[in-house]
Symmetry: C2
Subunit: 431 residues, 2 copies
Amino acid sequence: MGTADKETLSSSPRFSQRRYWSQDQAISYLMQQGIENPDCLSLAAGFVDFETLPVELSHKASADLLANPDEARKYLQYGTTAGSDRLRNQLLEHLARMEETSVEDLGIDRDQLVLTTGSQQLLCILADVLFDPGDICLVAAPTYFVFLGVLAGVGAEVISIEGDENGIKVEALQSELERLKQAGKLPRVKMLYLVSYYENPTGVSIAAERRQPIVDLVEQYSTDHQIVLLEDAAYRELRYDGPELPSLWSCDPSRSQVVLAQTFSKSFAPGFRTGFGVLPKSLVQPVIDRKGNEDFGSSHFNQNLIATILEKDWYSNHVTEVCDNYRRKRDAMLAALEEEIADMQDQVSWFTPHGGLYVWLTVPPEIETGFESELFKYATEVEKVMYVPGQLCYPQADQKNQMRLSFGVLNPDLLREGIARLARSIRHFLK
Amino acid sequence: MGTADKETLSSSPRFSQRRYWSQDQAISYLMQQGIENPDCLSLAAGFVDFETLPVELSHKASADLLANPDEARKYLQYGTTAGSDRLRNQLLEHLARMEETSVEDLGIDRDQLVLTTGSQQLLCILADVLFDPGDICLVAAPTYFVFLGVLAGVGAEVISIEGDENGIKVEALQSELERLKQAGKLPRVKMLYLVSYYENPTGVSIAAERRQPIVDLVEQYSTDHQIVLLEDAAYRELRYDGPELPSLWSCDPSRSQVVLAQTFSKSFAPGFRTGFGVLPKSLVQPVIDRKGNEDFGSSHFNQNLIATILEKDWYSNHVTEVCDNYRRKRDAMLAALEEEIADMQDQVSWFTPHGGLYVWLTVPPEIETGFESELFKYATEVEKVMYVPGQLCYPQADQKNQMRLSFGVLNPDLLREGIARLARSIRHFLK
């Protein structure tokens, strides 16, 4: 080794194993692509719609919070690690409304609610408190790629379970659990992670009739310890049509199996970074201990701003407006797909989402969609349109001919234009 | 094992090793004591003063942020993982003012600034990206107990270096580094952590003449890799008198050794949870990768609110008011100590802080101060006053006859009353 190499080595810190597990994340590549292609219409960005962001409501709530100086000072002070009691009280009622039951019949204490920096922080904390390197997490295939990064960061082994337009397949889940049992690996299975409503990336929801069987399977195979079912319900409130679905959480009356993770980022405003988790009692202290180390509490001001929005009953009308807007945009994207893909219908397919922000598109297997693919280059460089390559959403890039399209940010006209450009790009590579 | 035990086992998740390392944290005991002793005057709470929390400024800044809907929507949207460019631009100027130099002469790019949820999140992220279990962190004795919890959480070995009223002793640091070198352990030394200004818990600052030698020592012993000097400057702006001190960061013109961590929690408002780090280039990507997993960005709204406060030049006057208020309160506590401890002066001693929120008090070695001690019980149950036991601030509870007193929350009258109660408690146990 030459002197130069030695100097390079000693001028850099020596990092932990975890640092290396956390690098090369899909989200970084994606953001980099966004920066490098500023002239593209982006069907990739995971942002929410700018137009329906609640400027007026935020203004009113913030003015209300700060109107009485004695009250206001409480909100500007540190809160607790678990978060504002005021918001957690409101959340019990909010949850009862979503679950169509009473606060009493929820069967939980306020202490089982923990407020986090978006729901993302809860996902990350749960990974930290549950996974040692080599422990196993079961996920749907495909699944939320940011959580795949979190799992990689703790050295977890990720096993994908096949799904269809009704979500993860119960029999596939069962046979994988049975395989793990036979292999003596159940002690390493810590979690089943599912995005239950209008999944990121597929837009698919787990069908009503699959929900109880999934929860029952998790219980059945929790012989060594409780396998945690993490229900990521980030998009739950963005429902445009289709059936109302019970949460996976509601299928566990013991309240000991399922963590329900939700957020106000999609239904209200991501700028406040306020999410929450409903936890089994056994997880409350571990999550709070870890969060105590991470930040000993998310923004107390923002938590109270959301509490005011709920308390004043300004929230539900806003969510209705948000859903009306996204429904129009979803319809615009689906109509554009029908129209632009008409001549390729036997080769290109997609799911019809009843909520959320995404449409999942599949092209023929011979057409790859990744960042390095000809299609991605042609789309971004010639047609000036960007999407999220589907392979990012599989732990081992299992399938390379899919893409996630978001109708979150662009308006209906630009969505139509974006789909037209994308259709031309795909057509260019079809035989 | 009986059936009941089996049920208990299988109804609980199996946690990671890290979960056990993160439990039993000092802060949890402390908060529990606060809850159990609500009738006590608290000299323990680490909160900031309620009276100087910036209600009016927050109101103005929030109204300003939300006045123009097109602008406002940007602040309500997701930001980037590293944080708002607008605030980071302001921070370059803020840092230049503190360092008494120009933005150009800071010798860093904006990309070396990362915005976090308080400075606590930065401390925790650095621990995650640097420490494997068994790696070594050097700290002052005593030091910030929450960071000791973070280090325990990653399985780090903590080595305390002796200090005095001028901060950590240079010769003690050198001899420990030399000992580690001789033992072949330098490859495991990842970090030296120091609270450089008005330390939590001692109120002590590292003297000007010790600063360059400390930075030089770190460089000298960084033969295997760069040992990171984490300068926790959370209290830097709460200066009431005494010398203006250069940052440790300023003693490293290479900008490759020192991480400078600061926050707006003490000088402005903790409710916004906005802190920042100035990072060597080698640490930027590791920190952002980890933060991407934790939350992919702290509150964008809050970051922009702080940016407006700085941009409008509302900040410095506010900090002056905050310091004037704390100076009065520090003086009240010190005067009360002088008066109440007069008859015990040869047995009870304390440091005089020039800033920050804390006074560090030492009683005779035979009087223990811990949660289980006779003194703590007498103080909380009979005299109704609470403090932070000093042993929490040592990794192995090395010294048991000290306490941290905060003048952060109580007003001068109550501070005097609190000290009177504390003096009676101590006197009760003195021979």
